[in-house]
């Protein structure tokens, strides 16, 4: 799911560690496919359907909202990807 950039889920390490692809599953079912860092997903969040998109596989049609994001750092020119 994290690879579907068009859907607006940021793709980071894709290995459950960095947390940028955090989403909340509003409806539908997903299957956990690997460990998610507890630094980003607490046990309580996990029970509420808050997951890292890179670590789950959809098993039905799902509806989700993106929570994680790429954060702007100090300056837009430098970290906005458009510096020359």
């Amino acid at each position: 799911m994290a690879r579907i950039g068009k859907k607006g889920i940021p793709a980071g390490c894709l290995n459950g560690g960095c947390g940028v692809c955090k989403v909340v599953i509003r409806c539908g079912t997903v299957r956990k496919a690997g460990a998610m860092s507890r630094a980003h997903i607490s046990e309580e969040e996990e029970t509420q359907g808050i997951v890292l998109a890179c670590r789950v596989m959809p098993v039905s049609a799902i509806d989700l909202d993106v929570i994680g994001k790429m954060k702007k750092a100090v300056t837009r020119t430098l970290w906005g990807g458009n510096a020359v």
Binding site: P10, N15, G17, C18, A35, A39, M70, W79, A83, V84
Partner: protein
């Protein structure tokens, strides 16, 4: 006197079996020890001390501590005094608090990272030995990394609140630990904000680096390779192993290093880094990258820096 080089880094992994497969088959390290708590210790073929990487099983990714080796036992006592005089508390951990390591001086950097210094670690020799050695061993695996080269730590930066832990760490490393600065990235009005800092304690372009972000963490740990061709081969190895590559082979403007960034199976970023770039010396003028050329400094060919570079880290 003082600090010689990076000694080891202790990182957290969420799947030990996958982590070992990665660090052994892709990076090319060998396991040298496992302890009762489940920690696994590894070294590269060209390193002579017992280990340079400690993997700790955990429910999260990231770095536990980074340790640098000092030349003499007496350096630990001298540095303990200097660090405390600077206003940072220290604790001298007894020998064997970490296997095969003598006493360790533990303290927390201005950026919040746990750092250790030690003078002794069991020497087991390189894989080619020290008598009439061959240039490389016959049983290289994966990228065949020579040694753990450096770490880049993300440090909190919030100019509006006057917080710049990059600058704070830089001052501490220069004034107290005896490092010298080789390069920096300056941003903001008049270049007043030190966004990134590269420091050496040897003749390498960097032995540690700091970059500003919104929270402390580990950006990457880096392993040394000989040449550009070794970088290409490392990329092949990563593709064969379906390793998640973050940045395909390219060159840094900063340090002139040739590089690949990739992620271990827990999302900890690794780098394979080739080329010693230039000889770093204490009297060499500090290289400065300005804000408009900063992305060129990081990725020299494209001059484009993705937002993920400073957002995605553990």
């Amino acid at each position: 006197m003082g600090v010689m080089r990076i000694g080891h880094v202790n990182i957290r992994v969420m799947d030990m079996e996958a982590a070992l497969k990665h660090y052994q088959n892709v990076v090319g390290m060998k396991t040298t020890h496992k302890d009762a708590k489940g920690n696994v210790y590894l070294k590269c073929w060209d390193e002579w001390d017992k280990y340079s990487l400690v993997l700790t099983p955990s429910e999260q990714a990231g770095m536990n501590h980074v340790a640098y080796k000092v030349e003499k036992e007496a350096d630990l006592d001298m540095l303990k005094q200097r660090i405390e005089a600077y206003g940072i508390k220290t604790e001298m951990l007894e020998a064997e608090s970490l296997p095969f390591v003598g006493r360790m001086l533990q303290f927390v950097l201005p950026s919040g990272h746990d750092m250790r210094l030690y003078a002794k670690k069991e020497c087991v020799g390189t894989d080619v030995g020290s008598t009439n050695p061959d240039p490389w061993p016959d049983d290289l695996r994966g990228a065949g990394a020579h040694w753990l080269d450096h770490v880049l730590l993300m440090c909190e930066m919030n100019p509006e609140k006057g917080i710049n832990k990059v600058a704070d760490n830089t001052r501490f490393f220069i004034e107290v630990l005896g490092f010298f600065q080789t390069e920096q990235i300056l941003v903001g009005p008049g270049g007043a904000i030190q966004l990134a800092s590269f420091l050496s304690c040897s003749s390498k372009p960097h032995d540690i680096a700091f970059v500003g972000g919104d929270r402390p963490g580990m950006h990457h740990l880096s392993f040394f390779l000989d040449s550009w061709h070794d970088i290409l081969k490392a990329g092949d190895i990563m593709a064969k192993n379906r390793t998640r590559i973050d940045v395909a082979p390219t060159r840094h403007g900063v340090t002139r290093g040739e590089t690949i960034y990739f992620f271990d199976p827990s999302g900890n970023r690794n780098e394979t880094f080739a080329g010693l770039g230039y000889q770093a010396q204490r009297d060499k003028p500090i290289i400065t990258w300005t804000e408009e050329q900063a992305a060129r400094g990081i990725f020299y060919h494209t001059g484009v820096l993705d937002e993920s570079f400073t957002t995605v880290y553990t």
